[in-house]
Symmetry: C2
Subunit: 314 residues, 2 copies
């Protein structure tokens, strides 16, 4: 394995929202591909905006046509559009083409790839943990992926694939180097471990933020008094509804399990509060604080941002 990054010849990015357009910017800025094509839906303005913003070299609305010359295709559309995209790609891709994605769940995605893509292409699962409550190519930026984590799943890690060939391993390494080249730290894991982790650190927070906003919204006047704590805890509720509906649907059993664990812990805390059990309240808050403080200390040690997400002015 050489340490030098060998640029891709032709990268096709399907879906040029926040993640896709930001990836295009990072690839073009780092000269990681000779050509980047963004594919959007017919009639959507996104792909034109992405081109105007310099995120892609050329715009297309025909995935099959664009992908014919690709050596890398990155699926950046909402996860539930993946099966249709894979069906479109299957007859178009040259042998040896690498396909990866930025989807937030992995077990379902790896399964679709196994069923829908031909054996002569290499599907590598990627989940860059980068994003924003903002969406669309207007919000894209070339440093979106910098200093964030990318979780990667190979077919042979997911329990559904067979032992890897040298070519498959090489494909995995090329994708890994691409993410590293845009600034990411790689964590490799099986699809089921990935899905359990993200259910806890990503999907659960989203469910909490959303439910918090719903409860507070019953009496909108009180929101006039809300401060930074409410603003930050509820931030994810402003996220893209389509994307998050997909995420919850494609990871539903695991999310339901994790929500169940959260419900138990919250019920215990509520019980302590209702009973005025000072020791139990204090112990619960102390233990949570030590987890949170250690998390922040670790991010600082890794050079990752500890700035809050914030909101754009609307």
């Amino acid at each position: 394995m050489s340490d030098a990054f060998l640029p891709f010849e032709h990268v096709v990015i399907q879906g040029v929202g926040l993640l896709g357009a930001s990836l295009g910017m990072a690839i073009r800025h780092g000269r990681l591909a000779q050509r980047v094509t963004g594919v959007g839906r017919a009639g959507s303005r996104s792909v034109e905006i992405a081109r105007e913003r310099g995120a892609i070299d050329e715009a297309s609305t025909d995935l099959a046509a664009a992908a014919r010359t690709a050596d890398l295709v990155v699926l950046c559309a909402p996860v539930r559009q993946f099966p249709a995209a894979m069906r479109t790609l299957a007859p178009a891709l040259r042998p040896g083409t690498i396909v990866t994605d930025v989807g937030s769940t992995k077990a379902q995605v790896m399964q679709w790839a196994l069923e829908l893509l031909p054996a002569h292409v290499h599907f590598i699962g990627s989940h860059p943990m980068a994003g924003s409550e903002k969406s669309g190519p207007e919000a894209a930026r070339r440093d979106l992926y910098d200093k964030a984590v990318c979780m990667m799943t190979a077919p042979w890690q997911s329990g559904t694939g067979s032992a890897p060939s040298a070519e498959q391993r090489a494909a995995f390494e090329r994708v890994e180097k691409l993410w590293q080249a845009v600034g990411m730290r790689i964590m490799k894991m099986p699809a089921d471990v990935h899905d359990r982790w993200v259910a806890t650190i990503s999907h659960l927070p989203h469910a909490l933020a959303s439910t918090l906003a719903s409860v507070a919204g019953r009496e909108p006047e009180m929101l006039d008094a809300a401060a930074g704590g409410f603003m930050d805890t509820s931030r994810l509720a402003s996220g893209d509804v389509d994307m998050w509906t997909d995420i919850f649907l494609t990871n539903r059993a695991v999310v339901a399990d994790v929500l169940g664990e959260f419900q138990k812990e919250l019920a215990a805390f509520k019980q302590a509060v209702a009973a005025g059990n000072e020791e139990a309240i204090r112990e619960s808050l102390t233990s949570a604080k030590s987890v949170r403080d250690a998390f922040i200390a670790r991010r600082v040690a890794l050079g990752m941002s500890v700035k809050g997400g914030g909101d754009t002015e609307k």
Copy 2:
């Protein structure tokens, strides 16, 4: 009522942590008092740090002695220390002295004031919705209160006091003008309404952040993959444990009620996810997003910050 702010002669701030020291800075910066005394516990370094940082003119560890010449006393210690402070103040205060606080619950505080302070002083309940997950005079800053909301409760609004005298109304107005002078927007309400509102917009988010951190902390390795969403949603879990234990204990019945409402809403969402009920998931996320987006738009319209809280490097 004159619109000009008449400075206080001698303001005593009991407790010079983040809130107390920041208030001292704002008062001194705005020349809103001729003299500011900070009172800390004997043996604590806080009051010296507050003086070194210019938050107070003079440091004391004797509340009664300091308060004898005060025309305003502000209780900035954790809420559960209020009864002891009020007992100490009761024989020391001159008639007409105004006492206010920055406590996060109001029904219990107003009740303590009614029972423990003499009738010849005026207790006005204040709750400035400003803070940080940071604590201590080291984190104080003079603009902490700027553009935030201060909720105020008068004894005659709390249902426990009698009709106000002209002097009581004047005392309320002086405290109101002080908060306005440090940049705050005032919302006046009865203590029970205040406690229900803050249970929803402040204590509930704290309980969620803390419980989220506890659940994620069961498998610390996964926190290496966590991103900005987890960081923001869990931010409040890094808050001061003593202060928050007090808050939950002094508002426990209302917090338990609100947690119950949240539990119902979360159970419905979990049910929708487990069943793969796309319409229910989408409707829930859409409705929450509209609440959150309206909240941010309103903050922007009011000139309030929409920047995330962020964390200090530790």
